[in-house]
């Protein structure tokens, strides 16, 4: 059973990491192009082709496939039962997602879908790109179903028992992804696809952007929750300690689930088709997400503090130095939380309705989401892969030293890339531009930061190569005498009487639906009750 399950997980994760390496290469090209230092590679059409491919791969492909692979492995290692629906259903979902990815990739590489990963109209792609993107999402819905049903089946077999935390959190993520992907699915199905096929002549950009905002913020938590799972269940184990509190971790995950979906309109602060009052409501909701983030910070630090003290750390901060930073999981946990701090601060600026104007659509935004996604989340994907690979392959990790070097390079590269981007944003550089046809007076102060951005991009690419090399070489390592087991942290205080609300999702799903109706009902309904302006397509 395990060997089959590991193949499904590995297949998903290899799709994630192979496409990631490709997108990392595109990233180097993009920073080189943007730097203005290499006029011979400045091709606007190629730049947007690359930016769109990079964004789609990193935002949708790397994440979806890695998370599906992680989820399947969690089912097997925590529930210790077959996946609901069987492996074949999992492979079917994988095949649908992979087919959709391949179709979308062909169109992206051919320059038929240079619409960025947000595919905001009036930018229009080849209809097959939207079909491919839809298939990627539909395939992942199979995974969502299997996660939820596997958890329910286990609960029926283990009445009254608390669902293992990693499984509980990953199931929350599956529910979150299903609900949040309905926004973009509606946009594609009812607007983009008929529009790109010529069935309808014009598109309501306001409605499209509102529907995409439904997806656009919670998708960040779809990306982040696997990192939080690693924070809660893998980092304390690797550090030699215990999880500070299982219950607090569940509360934090539930708050993320409920708070993160109905707040996407903060991406529309300067868009004219939504009223300021609705934007204010969404701003309040956005700031509420800071609560589970702080709870997570507290729980993870407290778990690490316990581990550090068990290793002999004394005083207020002595436990920090006592931790085993030579363990990739512990190191990535620390580095990830540092990037979350800086990225979180930037996020508070973006989320503030008034302050947002100062940074809106500037390179600051690119810096912020790279720190949160590519920094905080993806560095935990790397260390989770290092942690899982021995149990998935039955072979020890090829090189822990290479893993540590790779993580440090990713951290350093990410800071060297994104901190200058924040400054460039404050200096007025727009995001998503290949060239800046502005006066010398405006662009001259950008030069040193653009050079740093280039250095950061190269460091990140080297780091990406080291990741792939280490994982590939692990497959050629000698089989371990004793098959490595995937281990999770125990809670410091065993969970005995867990309230039902912290062991299921029925009530919370209802809360999200009500919250969604309140926060998105009228803002979407208004497009059907008032005259709006249809927009004709435009392509790069």
């Amino acid at each position: 059973m395990y060997a089959h399950a590991s193949k499904l997980s590995l297949a998903n994760m290899w799709v994630a990491f192979i496409t990631f390496a490709l997108a990392a290469l595109m990233g180097v090209y993009q920073v080189a192009e943007r730097s203005g230092m290499f006029p011979k590679i400045e091709f606007i059409e190629l730049y947007y082709r690359s930016v769109s491919s990079h964004g789609v791969i990193m935002g949708f492909v790397l994440t979806t496939f890695f998370i599906m692979g992680f989820g399947y492995w969690i089912i097997h290692t925590t529930l210790k039962r077959p996946i609901w629906g069987g492996e074949r259903m999992g492979w079917t979902g994988f095949g649908i997602s992979l087919g959709g990815t391949a179709l979308a990739a062909i169109l992206l590489f051919a320059g038929e879908a240079s619409v960025m990963y947000t595919f905001y109209p009036p930018l229009k792609a080849n209809p097959l790109f939207y079909v491919g993107a839809t298939l990627l999402v539909v395939g992942s819905w199979v995974w969502c179903l299997q996660m939820v049903m596997s958890m329910n089946a286990w609960k029926k077999e283990n009445i009254g028992e608390p669902v293992p935390l990693a499984m509980y959190a990953m199931t929350a993520n599956a529910i979150l992804w299903f609900i949040t992907s309905l926004g973009v699915a509606s946009e594609i199905l009812f607007q983009l696809l008929p529009w790109s096929l010529g069935i309808i002549e014009t598109i309501d950009v306001g409605l499209a952007r509102t529907l995409f905002s439904w997806t656009l913020h919670a998708i960040v938590y779809f990306w982040l929750i696997p990192a939080y799972i690693a924070f809660y269940t893998l980092v304390p184990k690797a550090a030699g300690g215990t999880l500070f509190s299982d219950e607090i971790s569940r509360i934090s995950i539930l708050m993320l689930l409920v708070f993160s979906v109905p707040i996407g309109m903060h991406h529309l602060y300067v868009d004219p088709f939504q009223d300021a009052g609705w934007k204010f409501v969404h701003m309040i909701g956005t700031f509420m997400v800071a609560i589970p983030t702080l709870i997570t910070g507290f729980t993870v630090f407290a778990s690490m503090e316990v581990a550090g003290r068990l290793r002999g750390g004394k005083g207020l901060f002595g436990w920090i130095w006592a931790l085993n930073w030579n363990n990739p999981m512990v190191l990535s946990g620390g580095l990830s939380l540092l990037m979350l701090t800086i990225g979180g601060w930037g996020g508070m600026v973006n989320a503030s309705y008034s302050l947002n104007v100062a940074v809106h659509n500037t390179q600051w935004i690119t810096g912020h989401f790279h720190l949160i996604f590519a920094g905080t989340a993806v560095i935990m994907y790397f260390s989770s892969a290092y942690y899982m690979w021995p149990s998935l392959t039955g072979r020890p990790l090829f090189s822990t030293k290479m893993a540590l070097l790779q993580l440090w390079l990713w951290f350093i590269g990410m800071l060297v890339l994104t901190l200058p981007w924040h400054i460039l944003g404050l200096l007025g550089q727009p995001r998503r531009i290949g060239v800046a046809p502005y006066s010398e007076e405006v662009t001259a102060p950008w030069a040193p930061y653009e050079f740093l951005m280039l250095i950061g991009g190269v460091i990140l690419f080297i780091s990406a190569l080291l990741l792939i090399l280490n994982l590939v070489l692990t497959h050629f390592n000698k089989k371990a005498d004793t098959p490595p087991v995937m281990e999770y942290a125990e809670s410091m205080h065993p969970v005995i009487n867990l309230p039902k609300l912290l062991n299921g999702f029925g009530f919370w799903t209802a809360v999200i639906v009500i919250y969604m109706i309140v926060s998105y009902g009228y803002p979407i309904l208004q497009f059907f009750t008032m005259d709006t302006i249809g927009t004709f397509p435009w392509s790069i």
């Binding site: 215990t242 500070f244 702080l294 910070g297 507290f298 630090f301 407290a302 503090e305 316990v306 550090g308 003290r309 068990l310 290793r311 002999g312 005083g315 207020l316 901060f317 002595g318 436990w319 920090i320 006592a322 085993n324 701090t341 979180g344 601060w345 508070m348 600026v349 503030s352 008034s354 302050l355 104007v357 100062a358 404050l426 410091m492």
Partner: protein, 50 residues
Amino acid sequence: MTKLSPEEQEKALAEAPKGTWALLLVYAVFMVLGWLYMFYGYFLPHGPVN
């Protein structure tokens, strides 16, 4: 890594996470000061949109 006695281990597990609270306080101060700088030091001095 120092080897702890069973009593010391018990104590380490029972102790309140004072270091974590201190660290979070530093984080909170950093966040608030950073936000205040952006609002009063960067945003407002730009003045109204002409």
